[in-house]
Symmetry: C2
Subunit: 380 residues, 2 copies
């Protein structure tokens, strides 16, 4: 099998991640932050170490600003629903994933906020100049992903963050496709909410993520329950992170994520280099195949490449790759409808190949060969 | 170490659970329900098998009625917040955990519902007769846990379910402390919402649970995002389960939970017998120790025993057990404040020892010896 669906989840996971999950079962098997006994505390300390690791990796203000979630979807929901300002205005982008768009448009549907969608004017990047004309007096939140999960387009989060900071607007970055691959500095880039997926570029297990917040944010919980704190109160405590982590934490996943972050740190240069090289190579080579249309701009060498083969439905291409060559890619809309409207691919969808640390040059070659065969067979 | 904190999370987990988690990383590592390739489908089939297992275990109407969540807290939040009826009335119980109480009282705080709390009139059980006097014309939901996480008190869910069904009231059961230990039959017991914790009596990993629903319920989502379905829509789809499982599923945890359910099924008789025997034994033996007050009624032999040693703060008892004997128990309020008000232990808390399949008779003996030493030393 050739796995080129790493934007859905990276596979395989590093052995160190699998080991850390195993160790969670044997050595850190108590419920952290609930009981006061030493086994629980030992587990809680390990969880706290991962909190520290994540805070340091993204240069957050403190480990206490890291709220563990079940994934980036819950992180985005918490940021968007938990910071809603009645009568306010949110700017999101056409690059955004349904995990950001759907909670935002739910707030609009409820009549709580107005929403504007920024689209990139150029083919290479989403810039502050795409956002600025939409800003209104009641704009309180700018939400964008860092890297598009469809075509790898980057958003210039540094300049948007600076602008948001100066204008007292909260800035939410969905790093699902970038964390681990691109450097993110919450303090320097003035990010107020960073939604993190644990199981993609951070190489952790599926089922964990984080919302990392700045101290500027006043968050309301969206999930209520036991926090192990202020247990006598029927009202949810508002301390960050405890008040926002109701219920038992996914300890094996968190410890796995910790090992994944270590892996991403140790191999950062290698990962960035590989993603850059392979994406660039794929882009140029796919462009050479007659009938293939590549949507990814060559400057966005972020491990994601989007293309179509003639007029073929994208799902037919992915089925062909799977059935004839054992190559796994994702086709269709990738939960990002506005992006596809922007690209003009809402009916055809696109084929997406995505790369990880473990992708090999030989796999890339086999993939290109398969596309080349398909394009010829299709007599385009 | 002697681990008697199984109500917080069972430890150790069965080897089959750990193996299933490991296998998830090696053989079922794709994102299920996202891409259409064979590796994703293979993973999705495994996830579907666990859905079937859970549906069958609780006699739910169909596997599609099983919504995977990050745990029972998310399940309770989804049931309570997702079914809210403005101007309606909810009955909960003093046995309930903050994971049910806090979302319910949040709705009351928002002025959306009225709330009444039922308390058991007798020491042994919470019965329909405790609930009935509180029913009003606008009562639309009765919420109770099945087994109290503090003292193991059982609620007669069969008679309450029958009554709720006849009176058109939705019935929510929090099975966090009972699933796997007590038989639950959603159809026969007329349960509309069953909140399930994966990591306790079902022996799965921390970080997974389920809300199992009847076909009577009309649920609104509380989390919005990618569902892999209707991706072109910015509005959340309302299909069960997809519309309520936004984001990537915790595949390793789900497959681990599947193995845990198998373990609970295979060992059901043995588990029930052991819990009954050990809890009964502990109850009688603790009652023999001068100065020890046991709160658990002898008829509630459900693997949980609550007690205090004289006037000692419960946390001092648990610290003593940990430091002197390496025995892990949980003290304090156990996120169940109304229960402690009812027991009159809101200041002292209680010490809770809780049992699993893996608890041994020799551990029980050592625990009893330690309590006996402590009670003597304290010169009560």
């Amino acid at each position: 099998m050739i796995y080129l669906d790493n934007s859905a989840t990276t596979y395989p996971k590093p052995q160190s991640v699998i080991n850390a999950v195993g160790e969670a079962f044997s050595k850190f098997g108590a419920n952290p932050g609930r009981s006061g006994h030493s086994f629980s505390i030992k587990t809680a300390i390990r969880v706290a170490e991962v909190r520290e690791k994540i805070a340091s990796f993204f240069n957050a203000e403190s480990p206490e600003n890291v709220i563990f979630t079940s994934g980036s979807t819950e992180a985005l929901n918490l940021a968007i629903l938990g910071s809603v300002k009645k009568g306010g205005h949110i700017i999101c982008t056409s690059n955004d994933h349904n995990s950001a768009l759907r909670p935002i448009f739910e707030l609009e549907k409820q009549g709580l906020v107005e929403v504007s969608v920024a689209s990139p004017k150029s083919d290479d990047k989403l810039r502050l100049s795409d956002i600025m004309p939409l800003v209104k007096e009641n704009t309180y939140l700018i939400c964008t992903n860092h890297i598009s999960n469809v075509d790898g387009m980057e958003t210039d989060i540094s300049e948007i963050g600076r602008y948001a900071y100066k204008n007292g607007i909260l800035f939410l970055v969905d790093s699902a496709q970038s964390a681990g691959h691109k450097q993110i500095d919450m303090l320097k880039q003035h990010i107020d909410f960073l939604a993190v997926a644990g199981h993609k570029g951070l190489y952790g297990p599926m089922g964990v993520g984080a919302l990392v917040v700045s101290s500027k944010v006043a968050l309301r919980p969206i999930k209520f329950g036991g926090t192990g704190t202020f247990s006598q109160n029927l009202t949810q405590p508002l301390d960050i992170p405890e008040g926002f982590e109701s219920g038992t934490l996914p300890v094996p996943n968190i410890l796995g994520l910790g090992a994944g972050v270590d892996f991403a740190i140790i191999n950062q240069q290698k990962i960035c280099q590989k993603l850059d090289d392979y994406t660039t190579y794929l882009n140029y080579q796919l462009n050479e195949i007659p009938g293939v249309k590549v949507y990814t701009h060559p400057d966005n060498a972020n491990g994601v490449i989007a293309f179509n083969v003639g007029e073929m439905p994208s799902t037919e291409v992915s089925d062909f790759l799977d059935e004839k060559f054992g190559i796994m890619v994702r086709s269709g809309l990738h939960c990002a409808p506005l992006k596809h409207k922007h690209l003009g691919t809402i009916d055809q969808g696109v084929v997406r190949a995505s790369i990880s640390y473990f992708t090999t040059y030989s796999e890339i070659q086999k993939f290109l060969r398969a596309i080349s065969i398909l394009a010829k067979n299709d007599k385009i």
